[in-house]
Symmetry: D2
Subunit: 242 residues, 4 copies
């Protein structure tokens, strides 16, 4: 199983604070814990590589793509976005993290504005498990508590998710559907809210466990895209009178 961790990797270049938290980049931190899993091959790709590191070859050989972006969504080429979208519809899993809610790829797959409320105020976040039987929460207790995170609040302008796995409580008074699954075409998508660049969220063991579970859940089924277009009848059609 091949996982590609894509990161915009810009805050890491411009902010000392972010570099201290993630010296190998957010992609490095995520790739790091995923590499501990047996049976998962991990590579990374970033915005400033040619084709953002997402060449045809890379995409064809990716089973699950993880996406982190924030300040440079508009620099992602429409052509690459379209290729990623087609791969999702063909079955590639997609895990969109935190500020990736505003990425071109997430917005085009959702069809809505994907807008939300936000606030940077070192708030406690508590992610409550809403769907306790789902394989994405395997090994997770009733909630995950993060001492400090950016707040994201409802209304989150997305289609009703196929499954709401987590809903977050924020100290300042908001709630947020912070773990959501979406089936699109042959592909499975998981949006997972936490992970602002200035907090060490991706070192949290529970957060790592959820992302790892999600990677396994998002693995493509062994199926081709359905056949679309003009179709011959499978059963006889009776002639109609006028």
């Amino acid at each position: 199983m091949n996982v590609t961790v894509w990161n915009e990797n810009r805050h890491e270049q411009t902010s000392e604070q972010v570099r201290e938290v993630y010296p190998e980049g957010i992609h490095g931190a995520i790739a790091g814990f995923l590499r501990n899993e047996e049976g998962i091959e991990v590579q990374t790709a970033t915005l400033d590589e040619p084709e953002h590191g997402l060449t045809e070859d890379v995409l064809q050989n990716t089973d699950v793509l993880i996406w982190w972006g924030h300040m440079a969504h508009h620099e992602v080429s429409d052509e690459v976005v379209e290729k990623v979208k087609q791969r999702v519809l063909e079955g590639m899993g997609l895990i969109v993290l935190h500020s990736g809610h505003f990425s071109k790829i997430f917005k085009t797959l959702m069809g809505t504005s994907c807008d939300l409320k936000w606030r940077e105020a070192d708030e406690t976040e508590r992610l409550w498990v809403i769907n306790p039987g789902h394989q994405i929460v395997d090994g997770i207790l009733e909630y995950i508590e993060l001492e400090k995170e950016e707040m994201y609040g409802e209304h989150f302008d997305i289609p009703a998710p196929d499954e709401v796995i987590f809903t977050s409580w924020f100290e300042g008074g908001e709630v947020f559907r912070s773990g959501c699954t979406f089936y699109r075409g042959n592909g499975k998508i998981f949006y997972f809210r936490p992970g602002h660049e200035t907090y060490p969220t991706y070192y949290n063991k529970d957060i790592q466990k959820v992302i790892t579970n999600a990677v396994k859940w998002a693995k493509p089924a062994d199926r081709k895209r359905p056949v679309y277009g003009n179709a011959k009848p499978l059963s006889p059609i009776a002639p109609k009178g006028e």
Copy 2:
């Protein structure tokens, strides 16, 4: 309540057969039966009018927009599509009919290919009611039977609908989710399958009843768009130690 019936209105220009079935255009037929409803003001708009008849003013004063298109989806301007999309997210209801599954507006709101199987073979279609308590099937029996229609078959590449109201059986061996609702932003969308241009489907009393019910269901709620963006805390946030 203001309803705008939009029709591509091209088959009616080029095909004698279609003109015979719909001498006043498909938009004329739909507007006709809606005008019998009290409390509904109906106007029509077509592709070849300036801005396709969907000016800012028309859109702002439309509560529910009905959309029929087929051979000229690509001629609909991206700018108008974007305006319609924003109005849906603001609350305008949208009813997409038949081949409108491939319209730019439906595809952009769904985020998927919206592809399907199809066949023109004068097949019997039977639309079974799947959600018997829904207001869209008020006054409808267990199924609607259409002696002859074009076939649309699964897989229909859409997100899982918020509600599946009808599923169709086709003589040649396929099934299709033929009545589907989707909430997007403040807006409500209903996709309704039947209505190939060469059949008198929109004169069928049950089909008219469903479209009329759907118009009432899709009426905007009296609410503004939620406020998005940076938000002040509503409850006090405690200072955190390092």
Copy 3:
């Protein structure tokens, strides 16, 4: 349209505090604001009446039933519960309030334990609108704030609702799906969380608006129950060889 407001009406008998808040009973308060709506006929029924006030005749003439119960769920007769359930499946709307989550009728319709976390601590509750286009939130702002309420927290052991309309934030750190719709048979169900007996919640204008909207939404469609059982073929079946 006929609405029956059912209340256990026991706290009102045993607690001076509750009697002060609801001198005409919780049923009286709810019936009171519903009677201001044109086109809605309202009656009340309580546990200690014969057949709990829910005779065959009352049920047959009820379009929407509102249910409040708490300390005496076990005193509701199984026979009445079964009759109410059949009426819901036939199309009668059902609005279950607050501690009604543990009523026999709600539990039997859900099929799960309907259990939850709870705490009585005068907490602020903020009900955030999650589905901004739904007719149940017509006229409601982004959230409803209640200064003091009992806390209900996730996990709420219900099937995934057909629609989540509100999610609550509680001061003490929990979240809760506090406005949920469920289609069952021909009937529509709305569970609405607020309304602990010691708080004046049902005098809140927003809460009254939501309940009023829900009553309208839950109105039965004009349809019979589908026909179940052995069925003749509608299309010809070809003989099969061995």
Copy 4:
């Protein structure tokens, strides 16, 4: 992973025809192909064993329970049904086959009548894949065709499934949601329609593949039941004035 295949095992006793098709019983046929899977331990249980073969010990050691019943649903003891239900809410997977739609355990978990249309007429059934990315359809083509089966038709009186995986076409004119998932408590449920006792359906390789996939999907997550009941605050609650 421990799977228990439960079968009523009555048709096999009373009908020569059924005995010819399933000489080792329906449970024997299903256990047979599951035993070919690595990592799955399979045992069987039947109605006429003490406690129907579903003792506390068996249930505690079952990860996924498969259920086939038809003519003797009423002979299943309410006590055993209650135990199975509790185990599902605790996380045990449940796969309900064919006429099990009317079993006590399925009806109590659904909360509805679970009624449907039916006909025994040697009809062709075609199960179309509706959710092409789901792990239950791993390795399955666009549809599964069964030359002869009993017909089940809509309306199927169940809650809207969390996921509709298959929808069947029947020769005689009906459609049916024939593969449906439901999350209940910590447990996952899959209803799968085919498998009338007089047809060799459970020897079909695609049907076997679907049931095997479903067993893997329904495996419990490693989690305890959430804690319900009175809860202490996790964050400070401010005193309110009067």
